[in-house]
Amino acid sequence: MSDDTEMMKAGIEAVTSSAMTPVNDLISSLFGPAAREAGLMLQDHIKVYRKEGQFRLYIRTMEKLKALGVTPQRVPLKLLFPIIENASVEEDDDLQDRWASLLANAANPANADGIPASCKHLARIVTQAG
């Protein structure tokens, strides 16, 4: 067996024996000095992916509100942020659509205060009568 083969064998054994090596170590080994750039590149891909997801969410939400003929209202941040966060990483088309419906319903002025239109109408009549 040549020296090269021995070295290769030792290398493979070293890699396979350290099965618990964190992913960071693997990236460092694969990319060498360019590891940091590789990490940033991956981060960029995730960012782009999430941006695309957000864009799809906005387009679908807009379409739903347009079909309804209403101007969107402000959505509480406590509701808005988790919807955007979850919808942007959703891969399934059907579930993406549900996130958009959820946002469209939240942005629908008809759902503004949780009070049905009939009650508002009744309140107006009572106020006027008084």
Binding site: K64, L68, P82, I83, L95, R98, S101, N108, A110
Partner: protein
């Protein structure tokens, strides 16, 4: 009208595409039945075990589609076992979020049969939260004058 509140986000994020599809179909099934019985609300419609099997088959989720009770031989099939496991996990998740609840019939006559132990019939119903959740994950509809 659809009230949108933060907990609905938690429910939607925990559903798989197949579970969401199943839940949607169960809602439609309950809706149709409540429309036929004008005095009944969607939440008052009960699902039997067979209803769950049927809806699962009708929307194309079942590996072994059927609209009848499984025979003893069918119960041993691997695809039937897989369908059952998937339905049970889905129902556990629906129960966990209180989208659906199991209601037991504790009628007095159930306890008069001797010497057998009383058999409790149960049905599964949508909760108000469950009905609200499914409706809110559908496109908004124009408000009807009330």
């Amino acid at each position: 009208m659809q009230m949108v509140f933060p907990h609905l986000v938690n429910i939607l994020r925990e559903l798989s595409p197949r579970q969401a599809k199943y839940l949607d179909a169960l809602y439609d099934y309950a809706q149709k039945r409540s429309d036929r019985k004008l005095d009944r609300t969607l939440e008052s419609i009960g699902f039997s075990h067979l209803d769950f099997v049927r809806v699962f088959s009708e929307i194309g989720l079942a590996r072994y589609p059927t609209s009848k009770h499984y025979s003893a031989a069918e119960w041993r099939r691997e695809d039937v076992k897989a369908d059952r496991a998937e339905r049970e996990v889905a129902l556990d998740i629906f129960h966990r979020h209180r989208i659906m609840v199991e209601v037991y019939d504790l009628g007095e006559e159930r306890f008069t049969i001797q010497p057998r132990q009383p058999e409790l019939d149960s049905e599964v119903h949508f909760t108000a939260l469950g009905a609200q959740f499914v409706a809110t994950c559908r496109p908004p509809r124009p408000q009807v004058a009330e």
